[in-house]
Each structure stands twice: as C-alpha cells, then as structure tokens.
Point group: D2
Chain length 155, copies 4
C-alpha cells in the first residue's frame, strides 16, 4: 500500500467498525481507496441476501479513506446508493472509491462494489465536507512528501 503517510494509513487501519465487519484496506492513495471483505453468514438479512447495510458500509469505508487521503478531515454529508445484485455466501466483495471532483471545502466520490470477478453489485455517489484541520499529525520528514503539489505527507 502506498500514497499516504504511515501515520494516516495507520489511522485508517484503526477503524473499529471496519475491523469488526472484517474489512481489509487494500490500497489508498490521493482520492482513491480499495477495501475488501468476505460475505460471511452474519452479514445476511432476513430475505437471504447480504444486508444493504453491509454493502453500504463497505462502500463507505472506501469513501472515508479516499476522501480523507489528503489528511484534511472530510465528513460525509450525503451518499446515494443503487443496489444491483445479491452477492453469495463466501464471495469476496471489493469496494473502490474514486474522486470525481475536489475543491478546498468539498470532495465528490463514486464507489463501486463488485465481486472479485468484477461483477457489479452496487454503486454509490458521495459528497464530503472538508474541514480545516488535519486528521493526524504527520512526521515532517516523510520521504516522498516533497513536491507533491501541496498535499503534505502524500507520497
């Protein structure tokens, strides 16, 4: 994994809800993140499909990492999600978040949830409000942090 400082990456990996749900942060970089999880029996709903909340949580975990990847605190204001297909028990689901637009105060992302084979399961659009403070303190001499266009600690 690369693209953010080790302090920021450590913060992302410390997410309690993601740990509880068994999410694994595969990759995070400026404006991008990929998270994966296995479809276990406990994530199913009463209709026999993975719970919408599980799919949303996975997409939201990628959204949170991507939108906070500049180490400027980003808070979701709205998310919209479409649900296409039910995944199966034992499937690995992969959520990717990509940045559609970024301003000083707002960030716009879209998230896909696919199976490991690339079948599209769900898709989201999400917006964050970017606050005027860092998420973590980063070590000033982070290698690679120089000349990256103004995102301290991004490498």
């Amino acid at each position: 994994m690369s693209g953010v400082s080790k302090e920021l990456e450590a913060r992302f990996r410390s997410d309690p809800f993601s740990s509880w749900l068994g999410f694994h942060l595969d990759e995070v970089g400026p404006g991008f993140a990929r998270v994966r999880a296995e479809v276990r029996p406990e994530v199913f709903n009463f209709a026999g499909a993975p719970h919408g909340g599980f799919l949303f949580s996975l997409a939201d975990a990628a959204f949170a990492a991507a939108s906070n990847s500049y180490n400027q605190l980003a808070v979701a204001t709205s998310v919209s999600m479409q649900f296409y297909r039910a995944a199966e028990l034992g499937d690995t689901l992969v959520a990717e978040a990509r940045e559609n637009h970024l301003t000083r105060r707002a960030g716009y992302y879209e998230m896909t949830v696919t199976t490991a084979e690339g079948v599209l399961v769900a898709k989201c659009l999400g917006v964050v409000h970017r606050r005027n403070r860092p998420l973590v303190e980063e070590s000033p001499s982070e290698p690679g942090g120089v000349g990256d266009g103004g995102h301290p600690g991004v490498r």
Copy 2:
C-alpha cells in the same frame, strides 16, 4: 409489537446482520417500522464518530421491515442518505421508516435516525421493487386478519 403476522415478525427478528449489530426491532406495522440500537465502541470510525455504515444499517433495517410488512417480498433498488450530526458513545439511536407511496410493484419510504431525545442525526429516502411472492408462509387463520383492507395476515 403488532401489525404483522407472527410468522413475518419472527422472520424480521431472525435477521443475522441486525442481530450482530445489536439492533432491536421495536415495532412494525403496515408501511412502518422502528428499530433501535446503542452506540457501542465497535461502531465508531477512524475519525471518532459512529460510522456512516452503522447509521445506514440501522435506517436500512427499519426500511426493510417497513417495506416487507405486507409479506410481499420487497428489494431495495436505491437509497439516499444525509448525515447531520455525530451521535455519542452510549447514545441510543432510533430509526423509523415511513411509507410515502405504495404501488403494486414499488414502495417509497423515508427514514429518520434520531437520538432517544429526538435529535435528528440522519435522514434517508429509499425505494423498493416489490416482487410477486410472499416472504413467509402465514397461518391462514391468523386472528385479526379479517377486514384489514386486503393485506392477509396483517392484524
């Protein structure tokens, strides 16, 4: 609790993901449901607030019960959510789903997530596609099922 057959209520209460997350189904009736949960340490995100996925899951649990309350299988096609405030550790959160419109094939709901004191934390709009089959088999002689306007088993 009332408003749906005992078989349907039992099905709603069997939801694995809701059980895992500690959700409690307070009430369900035709086009309505209320679910509650406590904000525990494991539902927090890396920024120190309850995870958006947790809030969504709670609203989605109410949405699922309300939209399936007629015992006609309802599958979410899209949900949009706005996030207003961060709840606190130990708060009880209450999600209510209400029906805005219902056709033979589609149902439209809105969900609120509030604290036990009624402070608005988040709000959603969701749509389901209604399939042409029941969720559970209901006992034919369900008391109270008579004269309810055509929803078998609703009491």
Copy 3:
C-alpha cells in the same frame, strides 16, 4: 411574503430559469420557501407525463430560495429525488423546502412537490455548501433586522 430583506427577495424573483418555466415564489423565510407552477403542455415528456426535469426544477427553485434565505451564498452539492405520481395537465404544483439541519458551512433541506390539493407527487433531499460571502448587499437599516439572532436583514 416576508422573512428576508427586500433586496434578497428581489434577487430570488429575478431568477431567469424560474421565470421562463412560469414558477411563482409564494413565500420565503429563514430556511423555508414555497414555489408554485402550473402544469402546462410544454412541460410534458414523450410518455405523456410532466417531465422529471420540470418536477426537479420546481423543487430546486424552492431549495435554492430556502438555502440562500440567510443571504449567505449557498451552492447545491447533491440532490436526491423520488417520483411518486404523474401530475395532470392544468394541475398547480407546489414545492416546499424545509431545513433539516444548518451549520456554518452546510445546509440540509427536504423538498416536497404536491398538487394544490396536497397529493404528494415527489420528494427530495438536498445539501448545500455555504460559501463565505453574501448573495446581495442589503440595506443596513432594514426594519425588523434587529434581534434576529445574527442573520442581517432577516425580518
């Protein structure tokens, strides 16, 4: 009409797209607006119903007035809409925007579109980013602007 300065009200009434579509701003106040329009032949779509873009535009006009009602420039970042029913030729449609939450930098609104008889046609959730500048210059001695909790010109 009341609730905002005459300069701000005049600005709202100058909206070219609303004028073109025949929208009438009924009322605007802090965090609230109501706009109405008649369903004319030219707003129909190829399927014989009022165009989704017409319904959205009406809701968006109420959203814009409500979210700019404090004379702090508000720009929409996202809107989600549910469509319930087709209105009829000659119907008067009424869009109301109400504030769900307001911070220094963000505003959250919900909009309903109903017939004049109150039948629900569509519903929206919308979020704005609030910029750090006024929409209009207001006259400093606006009567009623005193003691209103810090929104200059609101009366």
Copy 4:
C-alpha cells in the same frame, strides 16, 4: 442516429419539455443515449450559474431515452445528482446515460453532464421501474429487428 426503431426515435424527438429547453437528442441505442444543449441566458439562476434544474433536465432527458430504448415503458422512481462545476454562457453541455444493470422490471443508469471539451459538470444515478407495455407500436418488418435477443425493433 441508430439503435432503436424509427417510431421510437420519433417518439423521443417529440418530447415537449426537451424541445422547449432546446435539447438535441444526438444518439440513442439499447441502454444508451446522448443529449446536448446550449447554455442560454434563460437557463441561469439568481446566483449567476446555470440552474440545477436545467442540468438535471438535460441528464433526465438522456436517462429517459436510454431507459426507454427497449420500447418497454420505463418510469423513473429515483434520481440522485451531484453538482461539480458551473458551466458558462454559450457552453454546449452533453449528457450521456449508460446502463449499469437491467432486469425485467428495473433499469439502473448513470448519467454524466460534461462540457463539449469533456469537463465534468455533474453526475447522476437513476433507477426506473419497467412497466409491462410498449411505449410505441413498431412496424413489424423493421429491418434489423430480427434476432436481437428479444427487444423488438432494436436494430
């Protein structure tokens, strides 16, 4: 233009609201459509930017053509939109709708609105409910309509 029967294409081109707003249907095919329009003075809002309702209407016009391209009546149930940038007076805006998923009863689309130069202005997700009837009567001997996998008149 190609990809749908001449009767269906004619129906799409007869859309009154699109005509009124100056929309031009560039292309439509199975699950796809592209519509363009010029940013004229009358589509601006009171803040000096093209009205959100104008951007939505353009995206919705592409959505409507794409989702009805199989000549099975499709009615929007929900749409979510993100707004990235303000276009300029005189810009040509292009809306494209693409299908993310299709079932017998539901269709899922995403729409982009860009400038002619490809700068992303807005993005949408939309869902339709597909009714069990055609939008137009198509001529039975439509060339190319044979063997297309069950979409009568698609060529």
